[in-house]
Symmetry: C2
Subunit: 361 residues, 2 copies
């Protein structure tokens, strides 16, 4: 059955002060729909395509309760809690063994919890095509985002020529390039952004992990064995296994060697994808008001243009006579930074940490 | 005995969101001394000059507890709570009858609770001179502030020529002038700002109220009679009297006619007086950091100059890469406004009120 796996392991502070160590950005309502968190939007987008197998979420053990709050319809046994963050190879491997124990025939679509997709209908159609493609071919499939700028913040997929079905073999994973290299990629036309969305039969994915990351597979196998023995045993075995796991991304650990061996395909996606990597990213997908302000929560902007204002946690914000700022209040902290310097939020986090004010982080 | 009366009846929102309907600015710590509220600084400045008679505070009944918190050394029976705000003539009259009941020979110095004085030693010296002057002459004395700019936000005192002791008769009270008129006042040299600070023997002040505001005096006389009958009677009589009182300022109701009759003198004061009428006023008396930022509370400013940042109520603020802003967070609300438009905070308050968000005001 077609099954969605949402990876909700983020711990970023790039959207501080709304995102925190203890509340990563997938739990924030950043889209136009008031109150809908990114993870809730991610699950909603997959409802139709993955109706048969439903949704699983892999998350950190201390975020499991937040995931349950954010996805109130999700049965609790579909939240797979990791005792430690061990990057995506371990998370996806854990999802594979849990899902295979219920459904040996599962096909997985794997998605980050905290991205925004503007064109949901195009996205759904590509998810269905990707599912069909990996079921029919036995290959792993990834959605590659057609680049809209020479972005240096993402990895790229290098493609072979298109095949008859519109898919491409992925010949190479490229790390975040410098600006000149990124420009040549965009100009060349055969590079797509790696958005971390993968499709595969669950048994195929686990076999790829076994082949390319045998130590990871071995550690997970102990959990798999315990799956027959009831919930307490699984949790204990997971707690035992995780410290031994290497923290490796699925991209490096599995997709790159699978791609080299010719087993990875991509479908180019133009779906209004946005990784919401900074407050300024909201300008890429939110609908501004008549003064070009993007306002979330109880906020007012008067004689003010082009601001991104976020009033979280029952806090009010008033911006009077100021323009092109990011103004965010959440969780007992406020950030003010010009929109074109929104990437520098990390500096605020570092300075507060240096002053020992870690309770605001 | 020389006795200070602090008028703490303010209810302004000019320093919103730190000042609120329920927390006027006298309770805010806005000076360089961390944690010292304006009212605490006012009381501290008067400690030496009014050591004999001590301090009384007239305040609204719902702010009495905040006054007690702000002035922990003040005996509770020195907080005179008004059941309704009836402007300064009633407040000063109430203080007169309470203080005269204890000390028929009292001399009063009357001070707003929420102003800042930079030159405390010069101020103390003028308070002592004013006390002596009103004791010796039987006149009422006011400190008039030597203007430093053609301010249109204050009333002015028009002076006669200096007398031998350096004091001047006040010949006229002038309402807030327009800019051109203010400029002529400053150029003329015989106008001072009216800062609402008055000195008089208590019996002299009460006699002036009796003469110029006989209705106010009559209503207060009932409270005076009750003062012999114990605390419950006083509170009940005060509650009965206050609704009948007209809301009249001491300036209009008493000082203007006293001045016309030749009974009001002033000593010109150059004491770094500031009425703290807007956030931008902090630039007039606070010591900025090396980047010209004025920071109160848990706030950081990075690559940011000339900002006024106030982080109240255990909230943190980070300003990155922005300049010449007022950024205030307090009581569940945040204000961002350019420093040169800080007067427009009222617009934010009005807009929030119009949207029904009155719990932030």
């Amino acid at each position: 059955m077609r099954t969605a796996v949402i990876l909700a392991g983020g711990s970023g502070t790039r959207l501080w002060p709304a995102s925190r160590r203890a509340r990563p950005k997938q739990f924030l309502a950043l889209g136009d729909a008031p109150g809908e968190s990114l993870i809730a939007a991610t699950a909603r987008r997959l409802r139709a395509s993955c109706e048969a197998g439903g949704v699983f979420v892999v998350t950190a053990i201390d975020q499991a309760a937040q995931v349950a709050d954010a996805l109130p319809g999700l049965p609790k046994d579909r939240i797979l809690a990791e005792p430690l963050a061990k990057n995506t190879a371990a998370a996806i491997g854990l999802a594979c063994i849990h899902i295979l124990a219920r459904d040996p025939d599962a096909t997985l679509g794997i998605f980050p919890a905290d991205h925004h997709i503007a064109d949901e209908s195009q996205f759904s159609s590509l998810v269905e095509r990707s599912m069909t493609l990996c079921e029919d071919s036995g290959d792993i499939v990834t959605l590659g985002i057609v680049p809209t700028r020479a972005e240096t913040g993402f990895g790229y997929l290098e493609l072979a020529a298109a095949e008859a079905d519109g898919s491409h073999r992925v010949t190479r994973f490229v790390e975040k390039p410098d600006a000149a290299t990124a420009a040549t990629y965009v100009a060349a036309g055969n590079y797509l952004w790696n958005a971390g969305m993968f499709f595969a039969r669950a048994d195929r994915m686990l076999a790829a992990i076994e082949r390319h990351l045998p130590d990871t597979f071995a550690a997970l196998a102990a959990i798999r064995t315990a799956l027959a023995a009831g919930h307490d045993e699984i949790a204990a075995e997971t707690a035992r296994a995780y410290p031994t796991l290497a923290a490796i991304s699925i991209d490096h650990g599995v997709m790159e060697p699978v791609g080299k061996a010719g087993g990875l395909r991509t479908l180019p996606a133009e779906v209004g994808w946005n990784d919401v990597g900074a407050w300024s990213a909201l300008a890429g997908f939110r609908h501004p008001d008549a003064d070009e302000n993007i306002i979330t929560g109880d906020a007012i902007a008067e004689d003010a243009r082009g601001n991104i204002i976020f009033a979280g946690d029952g806090h009010a914000v008033a911006v009077i006579g100021a323009s092109d700022l990011v103004v965010v209040t959440a969780g007992g902290a406020t950030l003010v930074v010009p929109k074109n310097r929104a990437q520098q939020v990390k500096r605020a986090v570092d300075l507060l940490a240096a002053r020992g004010l870690t309770h605001y982080l």
